[in-house]
Symmetry: C2
Subunit: 394 residues, 2 copies
DNA sequence: CGAGTTAAATCAAGCCCTGAAATAAGCAGT
DNA sequence: ACTGCTTATTTCAGGGCTTGATTTAACTCG
């Protein structure tokens, strides 16, 4: 991401335009006058900028509201048809591609199972095919697509070139952007899947409006996205958010990362199932997801091995959430991921209680702990917000 | 802190001026030409802004360098004599006030022991007296003082009015700014002492140039300042940074915060001494500070109780540092506080090793763990950076 | 149907940044 | 000392931007 230029009077215009566009995008339809009051820009400037935006087709008028006795206010909003964005979710078992209009209404979707492994040579063609397919399906031309966002399960380094390290896919230093670039002209934006999912919740889910939040994602493992002051805190190397490897139990279980006592060694689905087996729980059938579901179902009966494991997990997770609140004082903690939701659906209150036991009072009181609201497509949706954000920034 | 206005062509000027002023302040003396290249502003604009700054006396010329064959470059720098800033460190036992010029050279200092308790009615007059004293001492007029920064040991809420909660002082909801306002016209800026100390390290100590860092302060307890993307991350309520209460040992020791297993229940000076006593260590004389020093000295002999406690402490602290690195991926971890330095002086390498055992490899490799470089006056120095920052921002 | 009211557009003024051109301030050689 | 040559800084005209004031538009109400 190149340093955004600043300093000329033209950049000023771009900034103001962006401010207005964002206000319109994230809020209800509004009149120029209201926009002026809201953004602090003069009515004259709002008029000017809006004229440009309307000429470009980005903003449209949508009716008007009577004002007692005067000229009615004309309501404006972003034209959802102005363009489209594409979001890609690269998972361990499939590649999912979705196309959205600017209102983030899904317009087309394509799904490609990864039956022959997940080597880049398998994945890249499917992403490209998916992008073509959704554009064809939705009947839109590449020229109106603002960009493609891609969420991958691994660490994404942005500089000097986009490089993906995804152990679970067996990807080591894969120059994903370069590989895709051979097959498309569209702007490509790549980020970690947990981050894109976090973005989705932040923009359209439980995180709406929060300026400081942590989105915790519990699936097979544990990841997170830290939002500080309205934008994701990526750390020095764009690889922040490894919540799962916070030490929680000194001299504890060995984690798959090789270290000892990590949160993920207790709280991810994989760890929960292992702990269940180690504790002598009766065997569970099915894949990880169904197994964990039965585990949690069984935990409803007190005094079972499952109940013990789940209680412990809630304790551990709550404690770690408490630590996050103490350290970062976010206004919201948002819990998601398939395993997180499975757990949260039944144990959210218990989690809150566990967290409160490890949080300084005055901090706990200014924070809320909630579940993700978006479904399984959130990774793709969040990925699609990457080009959307670029569009809004101008 | 009012929302900074943006959007007019005048604000643009202010921003550009600020960019130049910061570049000059933090760097070596430089020519206009170099500034232009560095900031991206046109040479013409640099000339204009610099002319203003020189007319105001903020920037001065300091010699010139020959250029091979052409007109020599005139070197510019911020005039340290343009103004002064005052930093106040409100501690549990004394109030310290220091006056600095813009180069942050100390020009005067005043110290007031708090012999009659630390009620605001004791502290406030001493702060005011100190401010007057250092101005008189340095022979500067209030009109050239840019502001007073104050670091207090507690949680500082900035809105809607500055309110300090400082349990260790027995302060509950103290409107410190309002109380001081009765006695001075100078701009007042108040923040948590750990934060101001962190600012000092970030600006002038081990943190110079870091954009993502965590400054961990270990004294009697454990606090921290999280720097994300160049500025302190204060969380939603300006009270982030409570690293000390991160859960580290499930079912562990009770912490003075009332919760269980906090880092601070193991790693602060108070906790270390308690653990030492509980483990049957021979009694240590003197106040907390000398006691801890002897404890650490004794730990040099293997197989003593002290050695056990210190080893454990290093393990715990290292683990927690690892967690910070995983979560935030900072480029630097800076360890300070009197107890932190005492420990770090002898055990920094052990700490690094302990941290690396709890950090994902690729994250550990992009981070360095260092000790604070500034002395005991860092709180006041950091507090003084508060008005300095306002000055640089314009 | 005209007076009153409110919303939006237009206009002139005032700033700001920039590239180009002009000026300043040295060096090297003669 | 003088003439070119080189490089740094300033000056200047041009083009943009935002803004408060002024118009114009679009209704309501009596």
């Amino acid at each position: 991401m190149a340093e955004r230029k600043r300093g000329t009077v033209r950049d000023l215009r771009r900034d103001n335009r962006s401010v207005l566009l964002r206000a319109l995008y994230f809020g209800e339809p509004r009149s120029r006058q209201e926009l002026s009051a809201e953004t602090g820009l003069s009515p004259a400037s709002v008029s000017n900028v809006v004229r440009d935006l309307m000429n470009e087709g980005i903003v449209v008028e949508v009716g008007s509201v009577d004002s007692d006795g005067g000229r009615p206010r004309v309501l404006l909003r972003v034209n959802p048809e102005y363009g489209q964005v594409i979001g890609v979710d690269v998972g361990e078992t499939r590649v999912q591609v979705e196309l959205f209009d600017l209102a983030m209404t899904e317009r087309a979707k394509a799904d490609y199972p990864l039956e022959h492994g997940h080597d880049p040579s398998e994945v890249v063609p499917r992403i490209l095919a998916g992008v073509e397919a959704v554009m064809a399906d939705a009947g839109v031309d590449a020229s109106s697509v603002l960009g493609v966002g891609i969420g991958v399960p691994g660490v994404v380094r942005q500089r000097p070139e986009v490089i993906v390290e995804a152990q679970t896919l067996g990807w080591y230093s894969v120059p994903l952007e370069r590989l895709l670039r051979a097959g498309t002209e569209l702007p490509l934006l790549i980020d970690n899947g947990a981050n894109t999912m976090g973005r989705a919740e932040l923009w359209f889910g439980s995180g709406r409006g929060a300026r400081n939040a942590v989105i915790g994602l519990i699936g097979s493992g544990v990841g997170s996205a830290v939002i500080s002051d309205g934008s994701p805190d990526r750390g020095s190397d764009a690889s922040a958010g490894e919540w799962g490897h916070t030490p929680l139990i000194v001299d504890g279980r060995r984690c798959r990362c090789g270290n000892i006592g990590c949160l993920e060694a207790y709280v991810g689905a994989e760890a929960m199932l292992e702990r269940y087996t180690e504790a002598g729980g009766p065997p569970l059938s099915g894949d990880q997801e169904t197994a964990l579901a039965s585990l949690i179902l069984e935990a409803a009966c007190p005094d079972t091995v499952a109940a013990l494991i789940v209680d412990e997990t809630v304790c551990y997770l709550g404690a770690s959430i408490g630590g996050l609140i103490n350290l970062l004082n976010p206004e919201r903690i948002i819990l998601g991921g398939w395993a997180g939701l499975l757990l949260g659906d039944r144990y959210l209150d218990a989690l809150r209680a566990a967290a409160s036991r490890h949080t300084l009072h005055h901090l706990y009181n200014t924070t809320s702990i909630e579940l993700c609201r978006l479904g399984p497509d959130a990774v793709a949706l969040g990925a699609a917000t990457l080009p959307l954000e670029n569009f809004l920034t101008g």
